[in-house]
Every structure is written in C-alpha cells, then in structure tokens.
Symmetry: C2
Subunit: 317 residues, 2 copies
C-alpha cells in the first residue's frame, strides 16, 4: 500500500499542499486542485496509513492537509469558483458533512479540544442549519444565515448525501454518548428514504427539488451505486442502535435492490450508474468519480455492524 502513498506524496499535491483532482499515469497533474474533496480523501488516507504504519511523515501530511481544508473552508473552490459570491452567497452541505467523518478518521492525530469543537460545530450545521424542520429533509445549499434560498441551488436535495451524513452523525453520537442525536439521525434517514425512493422503478433518485420542481442536473433520475451502499450503512447502524423495525424493513428493501442491480455477474465489481429503470447506463467500473472507495468502505461498515449485533445477541443469549 505504500507504493500508492509514495506516488501521491511525490506527485499528488502542489507546492502549497493542495491536492490535485487528477494526475496522468506518469504523475503529472491533469486537473488543478479546485476540489477540496481531494484534500479530504488525502487526509483520510494518510491519517489511517500513519495509524497502520506508525510513520510520522504520513501523520504530518494528514494533519497539514486537514488544517489546509479548514483554512479553505470559507471558499472551498477558491479562484476556481465561478459563482459570484456577493450576489447569492450560498453555503453547501458537503464540507461540514465530510468534516464530521474526517475528524473521526484522524482523531488520533488531533488535540482533544480541537476535535470536540470541530465535531460540535459540524453536528450543529448538519442537524440544525441544513436540516429543514418543515419537510424533515436535508437541504444541499442554504443562505449564509441558514435560511432557505428559493433558487435551483437552494431547492436542491441530494438524498444519498443526506443519508450518508446520517451515519457519520450516528458515529459521532456514539462517541459523544448522545442517544437523542442517534434517534434524530435515524428519523432523518427514514424521512429521506421515504421521500426519495422511486415508487415506480425502485431505487433512490440522485437529485430532487424540495418543491417538486425540475432540477438543473440532467442525471437527476439515475440510480447511483454510492447512494445505495451508503444507505445500507445508515440503515444497519440505525437498526443496531435503535432496533427500529423500519430500519430493518428498509434495509432489506435497499439490500435487495442493491445486490440485484449493481454487482457485475460477469466480471465482478459493481456498476456505478444505472438509469431510472435500473438498467446499466455506463458499464465502466472506475472513472472520474467512481473509485475504490464507497463499495469496500460500505461492505466493511455493514459487516462490522452486523458482527457487533451477532456478538451482542450471543452475549444476551
């Protein structure tokens, strides 16, 4: 695994420590570091690698990158941002969402107070600012003061995003021993599922409009692999923590959809992109956005959660 790390350490970032979106085979950058999520994934990878190897150099890369993310978080796209922020200054759900997960992934490298504070701030953003009490759903973009923006961006729902964030929140709630927060995350998961499940063809939509208007994304009705595996994680964790039977019923439904649609029976691995009817839209297994990330992480998370359930059943028996 250190081959990959050494390649990335050498070629993956610019001189200021910003991580490129993509490199060519020789390691030359193809796409500028416009996307802060490259930095998030680098932080995760080097943070965990430092844990596995005990190598301090990897730890330092993780921490430096994490600090850089926080520094850039007010305007994550920097000079590559095409939106003129003064006119309609929206803030997005992605960054506080991923910081929730990230701060746990590299908790062993950070000061306790700093982690506590970051986690509190992110939970507040997710569960009070982006969460819309009226609909029970998670918004993708809000005004800087948290209020609703009646625009394409402000009306946008990304069901997979919202559901994925809920298992990050459940993990944080376990750390903070906050039972009420777990219950709320489970409730939101079920709300989003109920709202975003395609009653005609099955599967979860990729994008929706909170008022039911047309969205801008031409791919809105497609059924994506990561949306479904992330949903399985939230449901299995939700069931483990709460024994809510709706979680189990939904888990079985989404499990059935996922395993009958995504795995490629001929060559293995999963297809990523299905059309609304669940037919394979793009047969590629890896691409600009589909890497070796969601599937192994998802399988691991579901497996480990079910294992814990088994152990606790054995203990109770």
């Amino acid at each position: 695994m250190e081959h990959g790390a050494q390649f990335l350490e050498k070629y993956g970032h610019d001189k200021d420590g910003n991580w490129y979106f993509s490199l060519n085979r020789e390691g030359k950058p193809l796409i500028a570091p416009y996307n802060i999520f490259s930095d998030c994934f680098a932080t995760m990878a080097f943070g965990q690698l430092s844990k596995a190897t005990g190598n301090d150099r990897y730890a330092r890369i993780a921490v430096d990158t994490f600090k850089n993310i926080l520094k850039r978080s007010e305007n994550p796209k920097g000079i590559y941002n095409k939106a003129i922020r003064d006119t309609r200054p929206l803030k997005g759900f992605s960054l506080p969402m991923i910081l929730c997960n990230l701060s746990l992934e590299i908790e062993h490298l950070l000061e306790r107070d700093f982690v506590d504070e970051t986690i509190d701030r992110c939970i507040h953003e997710l569960m009070e600012v982006f969460y819309d009490k009226q609909s029970g759903l998670i918004r993708e973009n809000v005004n800087p003061d948290g209020s609703y923006s009646d625009s394409f961006e402000g009306r946008l729902l990304n069901p997979g995003h919202g559901i994925e964030a809920m298992w990050f929140v459940m993990d944080l709630a376990v750390r903070n021993n906050d039972k009420a927060l777990i219950d709320k995350a489970v409730e939101i998961t079920l709300n989003i599922l109920d709202h975003s499940w395609d009653k005609e063809f099955g599967g979860l939509y990729y994008f929706l409009d909170i008022k039911g208007k047309p969205v801008q994304q031409l791919e809105w009705d497609q059924k994506l692999w990561w949306v479904h595996i992330e949903t399985l994680i939230s449901l299995v964790k939700g069931y483990y923590h709460t024994k809510n039977s709706d979680c189990l019923a939904w888990f079985e439904k989404v499990h059935e959809y996922t395993w009958s649609h995504y795995p490629d029976p001929q060559y293995g691995e999963w297809f990523g992109y299905l059309n609304r009817r669940g037919e394979v839209l793009l047969p590629l297994k890896g691409g600009k956005w589909k890497g070796c990330f969601h599937v192994p992480r998802g399988l691991y998370q579901v497996w480990k959660t079910i294992e814990k359930m088994e152990l606790s059943q054995k203990r109770d028996a």
Copy 2:
C-alpha cells in the same frame, strides 16, 4: 427588443467587456464570465440589432466583443480553466465552430479581408483538423497538432455539435461558391446521423465515444431538443443544395421524431430534455442552458430554406 439590449448593455458584462454567464433578476451577476459562449451570443445579438436599428453603439459592442473573443480564443476559460494545459493540452471544436457562424452574422461590421481570413481558418479547423477521415466523424477535442488523443476527451463525440457545424459550413460554402465543400458537409452530416441515431428508441444520442467505450457524461443517452432542430436545418439545407435523397429521407425521419416528441401539447413551446426512450425527463421550458435560441432560429432556417426551394421550383416550372 431594445429593453433587453439596454439591460444587457448596462449589466451584462464586466468592466473589461467579458459577458457574464448569468445575472439575477435585478441584473447583478450570478456567474463569472468564464464561458466565452456568452460573448459569442452577445456578439450575434448586438450585431444583428445594429443592422435592424442602424444604431452604431450596438455595432461597436458587437465588434469589441468579437475582438475580445479572438483575444481569449487560445484559452477561452482563462483563470476558470481547471485543466492543467501543459499536461494534456487539448483544443476544442466549439470555438472554431461558433466562429464560423459568428463571422457571417456580423460580416457587415468587419473588414472583408479579416472575414475571409477568419472563415478560411475556421473551415480548415472544422473540416481538416477536427474531422476524422478514418471514421468520417467530427471529434470534439484533439491534440494541439490535430492528432488523436486517446483519452475520454479525445474520444468524445457530440453528434449534435458536429451536425450543427455542417450547416454553418454550408452557409460559408455558399458565400465562397464552393460546391465541393457543400458536398463534403452533406456527407459528414449523413455520416454522423448514421452513426449516432439510436436504432432501438429513435433520436440522436447526446454524447458518444469514438471507440464505443463508456463516456464520462452521465447524460450521454438523452435526446436533446437542440440536437434535433439543428439536424433538421443541416438536412434541409443539404437537400436544397444537393438534392441528395438521403437528406430528404433523414429529414422526414428526424422531423417525425422531433415533432412527435418535443412540442408540449398542453402549454406550447418545446420540452428540452428527453430520456433515451423519448420520455420527458425535465419538463422545464427554460433553464441554465435552454433559452429562446435554437427553436426559433431552427424554425426560421428550415422555413426560409423550404421557401427558397418552392421559389426555385416555381421558376423551373
């Protein structure tokens, strides 16, 4: 019509004359002038408006914007370009394509020599550089020396783009009295159609890969309004100039698809985005990319070409 022009003159561009991609209702810019096609449409609009009104101020805006486009043409996205050009420096078909059309739209405002030279250069780019002799198709991106790049971008086909460009070329060929060029444009139109027509559900695909590999664009199999109306223009012009019966047969086929799928029988106007099966995917009539442009221009071009055919038939009778 001058209301719109005055609004755009006042709010539409930055202090260097670069045109914003979008404004809000009050005229404040929402999206930076990252997209040079905003400038192309402004040039067309003010060029034609100067013709209609005789107002020199409009003519100056058109010419200044046109010069600015040529100045930016080496790196159209400027600072907003996320691709690192040194690593894989591709050039795109869009700009020479639209310049073909643009130079005729504002010919009355430019020096004769300058127009001739621009047209020659653009025809060369389209018909020799981006045209792939082997497949008979038009590539969307090539290496700077015109050679093939075996990458997602280099393999990309945008059938509607290629076909639309062919009627621009036919118009230029008429101006230059170049019969061979008309024949070649008609041949390429038919090649692209034959290659890009969905044999199962009808309609033209939005994107394809020249090697038949999966593309990056999730919307690749959708059937877009502008692709079909632009195809009708190329076919009717092709038939008018060459009497090639394939043009007529294809015109009838595409006409039938277009008129049975795009017009909204209830509220008028056209739907823009259909899924592969031809079902309405997004019911909006206007959005970020669908404006009041392709449909009226297309209907006008088809109408005027058929009118010329009728007149010449009457003359011959």
